[in-house]
C-alpha cells in the first residue's frame, strides 16, 4: 500500500513521465514493454560501448539497399525486385534473404508479384518468392500456439496453404534447377506437412546436392528433427552435433538445439565447443544480416547461463541497436528480453571500455 513512497518506485515513475513526455503521449498510453524497460536498472551503456536503451528496436532491420527494393515492391513496382533477385544468382545465402524480404511484402499485398509474373512468365524469380510467400501465409494462419490452442479451421487453412506452397516450390525448382532456395523452402514446409523421414530425406538430398552448407536450410532441418515436429531430442541433438562439425557456418546449430531441448544443456561439452567455434567465426564476420544477428543472439543466450559476461558484451556491441533476431524474436516482448539480457551481461562483465 505504501509502495509509492518507496524511493525506487518514485524514480521509475519519474522515468515513465519523462519518457511519455519525450514521446508526446500520456503515461498510461505507453506500451507495456516500454514501461517494463524503464523498470530495468538504468546503466550508462556507453561504459560498455553499447548504444543506449532508447535506441534499441526490435523492428526488422533490412539493409538500406534492399530496403529500397522492398519499398518499391510495396508501391507496386516489381522491376527493382526482379533485378535484385537476379543479382543474387550463385550467392545462395543472399538469395534466401532477398526472397524472404520480398515475400514479407507479398504477404500483405501481392499485386506487384502477380504483375511480375504476368510481365515475365519465364523469370524464375517470382516462382520462388511465391513459394516463400505461401509458406509464411500458412504459418500465419496457424500461428505459433500449441495444437490444443489452434482451431480446426486454422489447422485446415495451414495444411491447405502448405500444399499450395509445395506445388509452388516444385514449380520454382523446375524453373531454376540449380537454385537450392526452392528446396530450402521445401525443407521448411516438409515439417508443417509432417513428412515421413524417408520423404524428408529425399527433399534434403536435393538441397544438399545444390548447397551442402545451406545455412537456412540447416536451420529448417533442425526444426524438423525437433521432438515437437517429426523427430526427437536425440535425433535433433545428433543432427546438430554432426553438422556443426562440418563447418563453422553451421556451428550455431548445437546452441539452438540446447534451447529446444527440455533439459538445460548450456554447459554440455558439444555446446561449449560449438560456442567457441561460432564466436571465432563471428569475430571475422563483417556482414550484418539477420542470419549473423541470429547467430550472435544464440551465442549470447548460451554465454549468459555459463556466466561468460565479457564475451556476451562483445556480441551485444556488434548487435548495436538491432533486437530483431533470435532468440529475442521468439519472446512475446523481444525488446524487453534483449534489454534485460544486456543489463545482465553488463552487470556481470568485468571489462569496460
Amino acid at each position: 500500500m505504501l509502495s509509492f513512497l518507496n524511493p525506487k518506485n518514485l524514480v521509475i515513475l519519474r522515468r515513465v513521465r519523462q519518457e511519455a513526455r519525450r514521446l508526446g503521449v500520456a503515461p498510461a498510453a505507453l506500451p507495456s514493454d516500454v514501461v517494463a524497460a524503464l523498470m530495468l536498472p538504468q546503466l550508462d551503456m556507453a561504459k560498455w560501448g553499447l548504444v543506449p536503451n532508447s535506441e534499441v528496436s526490435a523492428e526488422r532491420y533490412v539493409d538500406p539497399s534492399l530496403q529500397v527494393v522492398v519499398t518499391a515492391a510495396r508501391e507496386g513496382n516489381w522491376e527493382p525486385a526482379a533485378g535484385r533477385l537476379e543479382e543474387t544468382w550463385g550467392d545462395w545465402e543472399a538469395r534466401v534473404l532477398v526472397v524472404r524480404a520480398l515475400a514479407e511484402v507479398a504477404v500483405q499485398d501481392d499485386t506487384w508479384l502477380r504483375a511480375w509474373q504476368a510481365a515475365r512468365p519465364d523469370d524464375p524469380g517470382h516462382a520462388v518468392v511465391q513459394a516463400q510467400t505461401l509458406v509464411i501465409v500458412a504459418w500465419q494462419v496457424r500461428g505459433a500456439q500449441r495444437a490444443v490452442n489452434t482451431t480446426g479451421e486454422q489447422f485446415a487453412g495451414f495444411h491447405r496453404v502448405l500444399v499450395e506452397a509445395r506445388s509452388a516450390a516444385l514449380t520454382a525448382a523446375a524453373e531454376a534447377p540449380e537454385d537450392p532456395t526452392p528446396w530450402s523452402i521445401h525443407v521448411n514446409l516438409a515439417r508443417g506437412l509432417s513428412y515421413h523421414h524417408e520423404d524428408f530425406a529425399a527433399v534434403w538430398d536435393q538441397l544438399i546436392a545444390r548447397d551442402p552448407l545451406h545455412h537456412v536450410g540447416h536451420l529448417h532441418a533442425l526444426q524438423y528433427w525437433c521432438a515437437k515436429w517429426a523427430g526427437s531430442h536425440d535425433l535433433m541433438t545428433d543432427f546438430a552435433t554432426r553438422v556443426a562439425a562440418t563447418s563453422p557456418r553451421l556451428a550455431v546449430l548445437p546452441l539452438i538445439a540446447a534451447f529446444e531441448h527440455d533439459d538445460e544443456l548450456w554447459s554440455s561439452p558439444s555446446v561449449l565447443t560449438a560456442l567457441d567455434v561460432v564466436q571465432a567465426r563471428l569475430a571475422s564476420e563483417d556482414s550484418n544480416t539477420i542470419l549473423t544477428r541470429n547467430e550472435r543472439g544464440w551465442v549470447i543466450h548460451t554465454l549468459l547461463p555459463n556466466k561468460r559476461f565479457d564475451e556476451a558484451v562483445v556480441q551485444f556491441r556488434a548487435l548495436g541497436p538491432h533486437a530483431d533476431g533470435e532468440p529475442w524474436s521468439m519472446h512475446e516482448k523481444p525488446r524487453l528480453w534483449f534489454l534485460k539480457s544486456r543489463v545482465d551481461a553488463c552487470k556481470g562483465a568485468r571489462q569496460r571500455v
Binding site: 500483405q108 496457424r142 479451421e153 486454422q154
Partner: protein, 506 residues
C-alpha cells in the same frame, strides 16, 4: 463380522462428528463467557465472531438429522403388470437369501440399484426399492440381467443398504457444515478447515467400505449367475453407456431445438443397437481395456479390478439362466420405457411435435445446417447492404469481398498475420458455410433429403442432381480469383432462385 465392523466404523465416525461439533460449540461458549467476564466490550467484540460460528455449527447438526426424502425416479411396475420380471427378481432374491424388494421401478438410465428407506441408523427397514435401467432391459441377455440384479440384491443380503443411508447423510451433513462456514471470518475459516479434514477422512473411509461392498456383491452375483455372465454383464455396461449417450445426444434430442421428438423412443434405441454401421464401434469399446482407477474418493472400484476378481472366482452358475434378450421378460416394453424416458425430459417435452425416426433425423440435421448458415447470410447482407440470400453471398464473393464475409472473432493464429493469411482463413470458414447453404437450398427445393445414420452421421440423399461436385464449385467461388458461374449454373438448373433464403422450418 464384516457387517458389524462396517456398522461400528460408520456409527463411530458419525458420533465423532457430533462430538467434534459439540466440543467446538462448548469451546466457543467458554471463550465468550471468559471474554464477557473480562470486559463487556471484549465480550461484544468476540461475540461478533463467536455467535455466527456457533450458529453455523448448530445449523449443521440440525440438518445432519434432517432426512432428504428419496426422490422416486422412474415408473413403478406392479407384479400384475410385469409378472415375468417380478418372478425373476423373486427367484433371485430366494437364491441370494434375502427378502425381495417391495417395489420395482424402471428408469431411463444405464444403471440398476437398490435402496431402503430406513430409520434408527438403518436398523429399521421401511421399504425396499429396486431400480432397473430400461437400456439394460433392452441390451442385456436374461442371464446378464440376472447377474446385475443378483449383484444389487447382494447389497440387501449384505445389509449394505442399511448403512448406505447413514454414510450418505453423514457425508452430506459434513459437506453442508463446511459450506455453511463463512470464509470471511477467520475463526469460521479455521473450523471449516478442521471439518474438511474430517470430511475427507470420512469420505475416504466410507468409499473404501463401499468398494469392499461392491466386491462382496459381485461375489454373490457370480455365485448365482456364474462368473462368466457376471463379468460379461459388467463389460457390457460400458458398451450400453456409450450407445445410450449416442442415442440421447445424436438421435433422441437431435431435433429438440427445432421442436420435435420421436413418436416412439425405445424402438429407436433397439434399432441403434442392431445397426450394422455401429457394430465395429461398439465391438472396439467391448475389447478396450476398462477404465482407470478414479482415486480414493470413488465409491466404486475400477471395473477392470472387479472383472479380474469375478473371473478369479471362476464360479459356475447355481442353475442355468436363459440366454434370450432380457427385454422378452417385459410385457409391451416400449410404452413403459418411453414413459420412464419422458420423465427425465424437461416439461417442454410434452409440447414437442412427434414424428417418425426418419423424419426426425432429416429435420434435426436440416435445422442444424439452417443455424450454421445464418452467420454467412447475415454477413453477406451487411457487406452488400441488402437482404440476406444465397445470391447475396455469391455477389459478395464476385465483388472480391471474401475477407469481409468472415467473422471478426475468428482470426489467424499469428496476431500480426497479413491480409493474405486473413483471406486464407476466411476461405476456410466461408467455403464450409457456403457448401452447407447450397446443400440446404437443394434440400428446401425438395431435390434432396438428409439421412441420419445410427452412428449419428448425416448423409444427403439427392435425386436427379450430382451434388458431389458442390465442394469443387464452392472452392472456385472462394478462390483468390473468384468464379461463381459453376455454382450459379448448378442452382439455376435446379430451379433455385438467386434470392433463396432458408426459412426456420422448411
Amino acid at each position: 463380522m464384516l457387517v458389524s465392523l462396517r456398522a461400528v466404523i460408520a456409527v463411530a465416525m458419525l458420533v465423532g462428528f457430533y462430538l467434534l461439533a459439540l466440543a467446538l460449540v462448548g469451546g466457543l461458549v467458554a471463550l465468550e463467557v471468559w471474554a464477557l467476564s473480562a470486559s463487556v466490550l471484549a465480550g461484544v467484540k468476540i461475540g461478533l465472531f463467536v455467535v455466527p460460528a456457533i450458529f453455523a455449527v448448530l445449523a449443521a447438526l440440525v440438518t445432519a438429522e434432517r432426512r432428504v426424502d428419496e426422490e422416486l425416479a422412474g415408473v413403478a411396475v406392479t407384479p400384475e403388470q410385469q409378472p415375468r420380471l417380478w418372478e425373476l427378481v423373486h427367484r433371485l432374491a430366494d437364491e441370494v437369501g434375502t427378502r425381495a424388494p417391495d417395489e420395482i421401478r424402471v428408469i431411463a438410465a444405464v444403471n440398476a440399484g437398490v435402496s431402503e428407506s430406513t430409520r434408527l441408523l438403518g436398523l429399521l427397514v421401511l421399504r425396499r426399492r429396486m431400480y432397473i435401467g430400461a437400456p439394460l432391459l433392452m441390451c442385456l441377455t436374461e442371464k446378464q440381467l440376472a447377474a446385475v440384479l443378483a449383484h444389487e440384491l447382494g447389497h440387501y443380503g449384505n445389509r449394505d443398504t442399511r448403512l448406505a443411508g447413514v454414510v450418505v447423510t453423514g457425508r452430506d451433513a459434513l459437506v453442508r457444515l463446511v459450506d455453511g462456514m463463512n470464509p470471511e471470518h477467520l475463526l469460521q475459516k479455521l473450523f471449516a478447515k478442521l471439518f474438511l479434514v474430517y470430511t475427507k477422512l470420512y469420505v475416504r473411509l466410507s468409499s473404501a467400505i463401499c468398494r469392499r461392498q461392491e466386491f462382496a456383491a459381485d461375489a454373490v452375483s457370480a455365485r448365482i449367475a456364474g462368473s462368466s455372465a457376471t463379468a460379461s454383464a459388467l463389460r457390457e455396461m460400458r458398451v450400453i453407456s456409450v450407445a445410450w449417450q449416442l442415442f440421447v445426444d445424436r438421435h433422441l434430442t437431435v431435433a429438440w431445438s427445432a421442436g420435435y421428438l420421436p413418436k416412439t423412443m425405445f424402438d429407436g434405441f433397439a434399432l441403434l443397437r442392431a445397426a450394422p454401421e455401429l457394430h465395429p464401434v461398439l465391438e472396439d469399446i467391448r475389447q478396450e481395456d476398462a477404465d482407470e482407477d478414479r482415486g480414493p474418493y470413488d465409491s466404486h472400484p475400477p471395473t477392470a479390478a472387479r472383472i479380474a476378481a469375478i473371473e478369479a472366482l471362476d464360479a459356475q452358475p447355481a442353475r442355468e439362466w436363459d440366454d434370450r434378450p432380457a427385454v422378452e421378460l417385459v410385457d409391451n416394453p416400449v410404452p413403459l420405457m418411453d414413459r420412464s424416458l419422458m420423465l427425465t425430459l424437461v416439461a417442454d417435452a410434452e409440447r414437442k411435435k412427434r414424428v417418425d425416426w426418419v423424419t426426425l433425423g432429416h429435420i434435426g440435421v436440416r435445422h442444424q445446417i439452417f443455424l450454421d448458415t445464418k452467420r454467412l447470410l447475415n454477413a453477406a447482407a451487411n457487406v452488400l447492404d441488402r437482404d440476406p440470400s444465397l445470391g447475396a453471398v455469391l455477389d459478395a464473393l464476385d465483388a472480391d469481398r471474401l475477407a469481409d464475409l468472415a467473422p471478426n472473432d475468428r482470426k489467424p493464429g499469428d496476431p500480426v498475420a497479413g491480409a493474405r493469411a486473413r483471406r486464407e482463413l476466411a476461405r476456410e470458414i466461408v467455403s464450409q458455410e457456403l457448401t452447407r447453404l447450397v446443400l440446404l437450398a437443394f434440400v428446401d427445393a425438395r431435390h434432396a433429403r438428409w439421412h441420419l445414420d445410427w452412428r449419428g452421421q448425416a448423409h444427403l440423399d439427392a435425386s436427379g442432381f450430382d451434388l458431389t461436385e458442390v465442394p469443387d464449385l464452392v472452392e472456385a467461388a472462394v478462390a483468390e480469383r473468384p468464379d461463381t458461374t459453376g455454382l450459379r449454373e448448378l442452382l439455376a438448373g435446379a430451379g433455385i432462385a438467386a434470392d433463396f433464403r432458408p426459412a426456420r422450418q422448411s
